[in-house]
């Protein structure tokens, strides 16, 4: 009379716990994979090389590779400190600030672009003041950056904020008591401890910026970026006209994902 017998019998007839969710998830994966496969199968290496080397495509690629890193750098430079404040401080109106960070995510990009026009357009006080000193805030690379920033910056703020929130505050207190001021502590402890989250946020912001279309179309239809060029080519020549530049866009995003993902894992060496 073994006690283990019934248990063994039950195990035999048992379905794996993860079977149902795995099957459900497989549908999503299939839905993701199919368009990629069918889209990429339409294109060959020579076709991509030829398509990417047209003057229009080259300008668009150059513009995108110029604006998206600038946007990402600005979003990171201003957004990561904001994320740190949101993770550490409690102050009246904090919920309002948090809602403001989320707002650009809620607004459709094309509406966001329209909103940027109402604030920074050519005939607004800010837009005309900038134009007076020779900087055009619309239909320029500056305009492209403005559009990308509005849509893409929330990603690095939200992700970095979660990263800082997961850092035990006592590690920072220990750093202060070891003689490092608040800024030194931020650089030596908080940023390295949250680096994976910050890196993830940077990647998200970059890919969102380089793929930005809706707001960019409103604020700066010209000069062309890769997404606006893709739209123009599609209207003129259909799917086959856009595969080369779309593939190029995908390649850039994947490359950045790989590089920053690797940087995020490598421990930051503290100088001194």
């Amino acid at each position: 009379m073994s006690l283990s017998k019934p248990t063994g019998a039950r195990r035999l007839g048992r379905t794996p716990e993860l079977l149902v969710p795995a099957v459900l998830g497989a549908f999503v994966l299939l839905y993701f994979a199919l368009p990629f496969a069918s889209f990429l199968s339409r294109t060959g290496v020579e076709h991509v090389a030829a398509g990417v080397s047209t003057p229009g495509a080259r300008v668009a690629i150059r513009n995108s590779l110029l604006t998206a890193p600038v946007t990402t750098a600005i979003a990171t430079g201003f957004g990561v400190p904001l994320a740190y404040v949101l993770a550490r401080a409690s102050f009246p109106g904090k919920r309002l600030v948090e809602a403001l960070v989320l707002l650009p995510l809620i607004v459709p990009p094309v509406v966001g672009g329209a909103m940027i026009l109402t604030a920074f357009g050519r005939f607004t006080p800010i837009g005309s003041a900038a134009a007076a000193v020779g900087v055009s805030l619309t239909d320029s690379l500056v305009g492209v950056v403005l559009a990308q920033l509005f849509v893409a910056a929330p990603f690095v703020i939200i992700t970095a904020r979660a990263g800082f929130g997961a850092v035990d505050e006592r590690l920072e207190q220990a750093s202060r008591s070891l003689g490092h001021g608040p800024i030194g502590t931020f650089w030596n402890v908080s940023v390295p401890m949250a680096r994976s989250a910050i890196a993830a946020g940077i990647v998200l912001t970059f890919v969102r910026a380089i793929g930005e279309f809706g707001a960019t179309m409103m604020v700066a239809y010209n000069p062309r970026t890769m997404p606006t060029e893709i739209w123009v080519e599609f209207v003129g020549g259909g799917i086959d006209a856009i595969t080369p530049i779309a593939v190029a866009l995908l390649a850039v995003a994947l490359a950045v994902l790989g590089v920053i993902g690797r940087l995020g894992r490598v421990p930051t060496v503290i100088e001194e």
Partner: protein, 354 residues
Amino acid sequence: MTLELDGLTHRYGGETAVDDVSLGLESGELLALLGPSGCGKTTIVQAIAGHVRPTDGRVLLRGADVTDAPPESRRVGLVFQRSTLYPHMTVGENVAYGLAAREISPDRRDELVAEYLELVGLDDARSASPAALSGGQRRRVELARALAPQPDVLLLDEPLSALDRSLRDRLREEIARVQRETGVTTLFVTHDQRDAMALADRLAVMRDGRIEATGQPRALYDDPPTRFVASFLGRSNALSAAVLGRDPLRVSVCGAEIALPAARVDAAAGTRLVCHVRPEDLEIRPTDADRPGPSVSGEIVDVTDAGRRYDVTVRTATGEELSVERPEPPPAAGRTVSVRLPPEAVTAFRADGE
């Protein structure tokens, strides 16, 4: 005075965490701040380190008022209950971190790192990652990191509480040795009276944000000034008593009459008192024994084998339960015995609180 707290008070919203605490540490002294969880100990540590700005009162380090000074300008070493070693630095880099902020040459810094890692017996772990160390080793690295910049005061906030018993005893001895060798003024915060008794030159017992008593550990244990100290510092029987007469004070406890010539309370006949007596000061004897001195008789209701001793519970005829510790096997439960109450071990308190 190396460290002085003067009327330190802190409120979180409407909640008073620390209430008018004044305390001084002499150079080289190890003071244990002992109290139950939530009594305000950690807030005091945070105020001394500068991570909490107290609502009222002052913190003085070497005579200078540092109440408004940022943590980095105070020379205070800090070890928390849970590890705060930096996982992205090696053990050596962790210890060097506190030296990097001070004006110390790189050569001297290397020497100091080696010196302090050797002090805690971890000189061969210098290039290891903190994650590769055991819990006890991590504690020791933290001790080395806190001490390497040669702080004026070392604050240890429950440094042993997260460890298991045997490791805890070993590390306690290690802390005692390191403190002796460096002579650093130390505030050791704990809720564990064993750790506090074993380590402290002087003990401050806290309760509800206030210092209840300070003194030598042994003196507080043998002659507790308040009921709280009597019950918190070691085990204690609290027995209700009635005053029979004064000069000297005579009380009736569990039906026995005891004279307490050394009692601090003075009360008229009929006043209710509470008498504390430690389980190890009570002695179980057969009822028919020749019995000099006061004793009460009762029935053994429970015997627990605690390894090195037996914990015996005796219910007296008056219905009170006495805990008695005894090294030899006691009579079985159900037996009627006599418990001797040595008057010198009995401390009397007023029944109304203190």
